[in-house]
Symmetry: C3
Subunit: 203 residues, 3 copies
Amino acid sequence: MFEFLDSLGTLVFAISGALTAIYKKLDLFGVYCIAFVTALGGGTIRDVMIGRTPVGWMLDMNYVYIITIGFLLSIIFNRYLDKLRISMFLFDSIGLGVFTLIGLEKGIEYGLSPLICVILGTLTATFGGVIRDILCNEIPVLFRKEIYATLCIAGGILFFILKELHFEQNFISLAVTIFIIGFRLISFKYNWSLPSGTIFVRK
Amino acid sequence: MFEFLDSLGTLVFAISGALTAIYKKLDLFGVYCIAFVTALGGGTIRDVMIGRTPVGWMLDMNYVYIITIGFLLSIIFNRYLDKLRISMFLFDSIGLGVFTLIGLEKGIEYGLSPLICVILGTLTATFGGVIRDILCNEIPVLFRKEIYATLCIAGGILFFILKELHFEQNFISLAVTIFIIGFRLISFKYNWSLPSGTIFVRK
Amino acid sequence: MFEFLDSLGTLVFAISGALTAIYKKLDLFGVYCIAFVTALGGGTIRDVMIGRTPVGWMLDMNYVYIITIGFLLSIIFNRYLDKLRISMFLFDSIGLGVFTLIGLEKGIEYGLSPLICVILGTLTATFGGVIRDILCNEIPVLFRKEIYATLCIAGGILFFILKELHFEQNFISLAVTIFIIGFRLISFKYNWSLPSGTIFVRK
């Protein structure tokens, strides 16, 4: 089940990257590259920083295959994918939840403290998109709009609270993922966003 | 012979980086940095991702010396280098071929699958230029123009086909390098380029 | 004493990142991220390239706490911090000196040659700012203005000269740090800057 959600998350992140690149009029290789880094960039940075090398996707061919599928779907169906915005948003939220969880667990596996694990979870889920935006020459949307990363942080904190309360591991994983996905949908519906860094500046 | 071509590739990539930086009116330190990352950025990312640390150029002073030479040549002769476009293009193609081969071989050395090795070869040859463009605040030219990376991928596939057919290692290295260099020259002559990601979009 | 200066440097680099992000109108998460990478980005790249993983800040919580303090100070007092330009400039110079020294020492610890150590020192002190500028979609100021990185290089060379002359380690550390800080202040007072890469081009 979890592997399936991981694959679904990878697929959707790859499609999101590919669509951005198509919109930016990159060539086919550029579209493939952006799909790749959007899906795997966050995990790659995480692995490199904790010393888990060769990085994960080099040892499991499925990631490359899934991204290739996402790339092909985007190239062929990009006009239709645009109309599937709501499904895409749902899948993207799933990716966000699952990737956060994977990052958290890798941090624990490497014996890092809870605070660092939360940072790693957030980074895994969000930095693929940051690299995508940098490669497309834009200020990362992550830093400007929507309550995206905040959800990963909140999910990470929930993870350690539940762990502290000795809940069963599978239950924690499920609860955190559902929490992130659920809150993403709610925050979108009510159009929440973080205040800008100038909140304390008198106008 | 091979070391010589590696050095030549490094030198030309450094010059290409330096000329871009000069054109962007960076100061001398900026020019040196861009020359450095253009020449060594691809190999550095590869080494970091497969866990080959300290990264290669830290253990072999020659790279730093060659880049320094490329930097000095660019600073002093930049007006003349511009007129050597054709020689530069030839050397750049040599760099492309040799760097791809080095990336492929490092991947094999680390026991990675052929698909991943092809990715590493392409990355070694092309990502120095990607970092150069990001530092100069442009969408990487790699993603927009010319059939550049595609040649590295084709060269990588040829590498594994020849290997499968049990050709001798030195012959394979030579064949792949010549294939990439030759095709680059032909593709330039006939002005080939990849279609953009919107090929399936009806206008 | 040295730990205190390291903390002070981290704090000031974090504030400098946060203020840039606030000025760019990023949201709170974006401001925090930019503060983080400005303070720790250089050291992270260094650690990853020499294979010192998990990277340093993951094993010492103080860094995260200090950056959080810098973030909060910037959010709340950003109008006043702007008026503290001179103190900030002084602290920033301290950070530059201390970070260069840390980078130099890590290089020696990993048995790298003096030339590579100087590169690592410079990178530790300056690349946080480079990542900050890339994330904010600007050509890194490091490559364009002020005699910033040159001081780190000069400091690194001084370090190895004093070492060669068998001075005591603590004295060397102090001398290099003071040299960098002092020269930064002097270069600022007299408005020195590096010539651009086009110095040899006749107009």
